[in-house]
């Protein structure tokens, strides 16, 4: 197991390097293919009506006139060894891990990522708990009452949940529950350490919006899995032992049906930790997702790289955990 983990971690590092190379390439090569040179690229990071000297100064500061491999090498070296940055009167130093300084506001990227991460974590983990419990519960009940009114109603709602985009559900819920009826007024992010009650209260709508989508998926998945599992022979054996039906359903049926769900959950959560983009933008929550959108809109390379690396890291780690979980959950895989 330890060998497995170390091997995977090494692979993770290589994968992250690969991802960073590709992102770097896309950022620079695409405008180059459109015919834009470094000078024109630098013009984006200067104010209105710049003098040519200003554009040139920015081009040199950002190192845009260097060949790509050099820029990339500098970037990777910066992550590992830190960067000395001329902030004007002084030289700043940002230590490992240094994901560079923003092209737009000259501030180090890593602290911004760190300060945004709790927001995304709050949204993602809160919603994840809700959708896992809610989705699985509904799925189990639907499977047990297949064909009943409850089953048809819940699968119908599940269809809606899967089909309606997050920004639609989010905006509608804001319109109704925040502006029309002030049940959740002034939804904005409050840190959990600042005011835990307000933190939770302001997150209810984002949680519900995000969870609605995923719970629908998980309900359908659980239902299908349960229907399959409950027809298995070991369920018959469990009943033959005289176990109460509830234990048969949960401990024997659900336990077996849960395997694919747990693995998908790991992947979904991993993806979401890199930024719940639509949810954060809809509710104006300053997390990694919103950071991603702004970084792209601003064409801010260090910010884009930083957030892509973090998101990739989460996804790769989530994959690794999911693979481990698979072995933990299903003993047949272990040996």
């Amino acid at each position: 197991m330890l060998f497995f983990i170390t091997r995977r971690l090494i692979l993770t590092v290589f994968l992250l390097l690969l991802v960073s190379m590709i992102t770097f390439a896309i950022f620079f090569l695409v405008p180059r293919l459109a015919g834009q040179n470094a000078y024109e690229l630098a013009a984006q990071y200067v104010g209105r009506n710049p003098t040519p000297g200003a554009i040139k100064a920015v081009e040199i500061k950002l190192g845009l006139n260097d060949p790509l491999y050099l820029q990339y090498g500098r970037y990777i070296k910066g992550i590992v060894a830190g960067i000395h940055y001329n902030n004007g009167p002084d030289v700043s130093y940002c230590p490992f891990p240094c994901f560079g300084y923003s092209f737009r506001n000259d501030q180090p990227v890593w602290p911004q990522l760190i300060s945004d991460a709790p927001v995304t974590l709050s949204i993602a983990i809160g919603a994840a708990v809700l959708w896992l419990i809610g989705g699985v519960a509904i799925g189990v009940l639907s499977a047990l009452r297949r064909g009943s009114f409850f089953d048809r109603l819940s699968m119908g709602i599940a269809l809606a949940g899967v089909s309606l985009p997050v920004f639609f559900t989010g905006l509608v819920s804001l319109e109704l529950f925040s502006y029309k009826w002030a049940i959740f007024p002034n939804v904005h992010y409050v840190g959990i350490t600042t005011n835990p009650l307000l933190w939770a209260r302001n997150l209810v709508l984002p949680w519900l919006t995000l969870a609605f989508l995923y719970a629908a998926l998980y309900a359908r998945l659980t239902r299908a899995g349960m229907l399959e599992t409950m027809g298995e022979d070991y369920i018959r054996t469990a009943r033959a032992k005289g176990l109460p039906e509830r234990r048969v359903v949960l401990k024997h049926g659900l336990r077996a049906a849960l395997t694919p769900i747990v693995t998908i959950f790991g992947l979904d959560l991993g993806l979401l930790l890199g930024g719940a983009i639509l949810t954060e933008t809809t509710f104006s929550m300053p997390g990694l997702g919103q950071f991603t959108i702004l970084a792209i809109q601003n064409q801010d390379l260090p910010e884009i790289m930083g957030v892509v690396m973090i998101a990739s890291f989460f996804i790769v780690i989530a994959n690794m955990i999911v693979d481990i979980m698979y072995a933990v959950v299903d003993p047949r895989v272990r040996f």
């Binding site: 298995e232 022979d233 070991y234 018959r236 054996t237 469990a238 009943r239 033959a240 032992k241 005289g242 176990l243 109460p244 039906e245 024997h252 336990r255 077996a256 959950v329 299903d330 003993p331 047949r332 040996f335």
Partner: protein, 359 residues
Amino acid sequence: MAPLLEVDELRIHFRTDDGLVRAVDGVSFVLDRGQTLGIVGESGSGKSVTSMGIMGLHQGTKAEISGHIRLDGEDLVAATPARVRELRGSKMAMIFQDPLSSLHPYYTVGQQIVEAYRIHNQVSRQAARQHAIDLLGRVGIPQPKVRLDDYPHQFSGGMRQRAMIAMALSCDPELLIADEPTTALDVTVQAQILDLISDLQSEFGSAVIIITHDLGVVAELSDDILVMYAGRIAEYGSAADIFGQPDHPYTWGLLASMPRLDRERTARLVPIPGTPPSLIRVPSGCPFHPRCRYTELVGGERCVTEIPPLRAVRSLGHQAACHLTAEERARQWADLSAGKIPDDAAEPGSAEPEAREPV
């Protein structure tokens, strides 16, 4: 002494979109303590449905059950589901055909046995574990303390079945039902398992019902044999009766289609022509008549129109449901056991079975 199990006119029907499935249609038998009953038949004869019915495992399905199942005097058909559940696993236990799919793959064998034990007995986990170790040892699994914590897929086929037997016996049941216990196993292992069941039966004193399609299995263990066809009893009697003087063409067919050591190698096996009938459209009259060679001997359309009653012909404990006279039956069996294949054995009754209207 009252019998342990009395099944009286048990009917188990399933209402489906295609019609009414008469899986078990009037089955009665009796089982005494410590005795073994073998229930024999092809797939679809209703033997598994009967045993599941005894265990109350049709609860929650669309089964319509009528008749009586008296376990130690208590009618299980009339009892509450909670009561039947209490008895399940404790007073009556069941083992199944495929131990790999019948044991939960995610729990260790020990966990599953402990669970079976603790649901009916208020004991500590430690005590239950010890009991499980004892049971595993008793069913012949080496190093039980270690193997307790193994998963089902880590056992060989035979060992798995032993573990399942151990689990079934954990609460010391008075009735053990074994549904095709050896079908999924190698022949050599089959013998071991059957021996085991026999040993445990004498040790624990439980009554056993063995369900199988394999007469060889039944011959070893059973005191009595019940031959089922299309949800009904074709023949019922002691093992000696059934093997010595079978009284039903279906039983003859089963025996004749079995390869035997005491027959000539070149002797032809005589299979039963045709296929088992659909339980929705059970043939009218005698359900076996479409596949029976002897309908002409009976004469007229009697086999088609009249359901033959289950009647004792030779001795009180030996019943068969056939229109042939006792003499005819004796003669035909004598011919068959001498190796004579009937001349008209080629084409059995080719008349289309007249379906009874589904009720």
